[in-house]
Symmetry: C2
Subunit: 217 residues, 2 copies
Amino acid sequence: MKIAILGGTGSIGEGLALRWAVKHEVFVGSRKLEKALASTDKYRKILEESGDTCTITGCVNPDAVDRADVVVLSVPYEHVSSTIETIKPYLRDQIIISIVVPMKKNGHFLYAPPESGCAAMEIQGLLPEGVKLVSAFHNVSAKKLADINNKLDMDVFICGDNEEANNVVSDLVKDIPGLNPMMAGPLEVSCMVESITPLLVNLAKFTKKKHLGIKSV
Amino acid sequence: MKIAILGGTGSIGEGLALRWAVKHEVFVGSRKLEKALASTDKYRKILEESGDTCTITGCVNPDAVDRADVVVLSVPYEHVSSTIETIKPYLRDQIIISIVVPMKKNGHFLYAPPESGCAAMEIQGLLPEGVKLVSAFHNVSAKKLADINNKLDMDVFICGDNEEANNVVSDLVKDIPGLNPMMAGPLEVSCMVESITPLLVNLAKFTKKKHLGIKSV
């Protein structure tokens, strides 16, 4: 599968690129080509050093989207609207995975949903018809995901209105050993999943346990 | 410690009563005395059958609050305001633990916070000064908690503005083997913890895994 990761140069984008590039064709997208190429070189080196072969290409966001079947939107909430504007001409029938979280900082982090209730519902309103949106990966530790030697054992909560797209994302989750996909409901419940990201950051801060993810028990 | 559990006749109240009554003095509160007494008889029988000695008394909500150091508020969101009205004359400097979750049902469940941002912030506005509010236990499976033979292994996320009260609640969590207290931040972040309750109900529904709780990993 051809996967574009927008915001693929940092945070959770890095982990997804590293974990998927051994099985899929990954396009690391950025607003700046040099940044995308630098990250791609870094990821390729990490994977090759561990003996993996990978297919990974750096490009600007619109190029990444144009070449992809699945597009991961892992840019900061503030950049969502402008990012979607630049990629809009290249959106056809791709599946978009939103990892976006609107939050504000006040010593600790607080989930700050827009009027539509959550980032996912707002993003859906910005996307052309035909594009299928799925919300996922908010409750995964970016750091643990990016450490390819880390044996993962986390759930990934998935929200979406299109069953076929949900199943594709569920399979992509399963492609990462140790991640377990769990359907959490339609897109509107994404607020309950997005808010786990700032919760995990706070828990790490207050308990001094770093890089937390979530598992249902 | 003397603990009143309002809404102690059902759901998570049952589990807390059963788990704490072997170590603390528990007052199971209800709007109706007969209901409180019936539940108390049931809980006493369960504990005695498993060879435990317990201290557990059934009473109406105001009596339970009057006799307690810690008051667990585990009534449905719709009954919070009226419940607080009836117990107000008996509130002095107790610690209140809110397990309250405002949610609506639309096939699935959706977290439906009030204007103040979360149930905990709204409840704080209803309480007299001197009473210390802590938000906790939203991410625990009520069913597993109530099954005293179930070996628990879950986190309990705690939010609150009063450090002393947070610590008391943290110790009460530790009194239940297998539950691990984790500070999640001040009371205002309770929205991110309260919303886990409807999320867990949805996950159980869509994945056919029953009685889920949460653990950070």
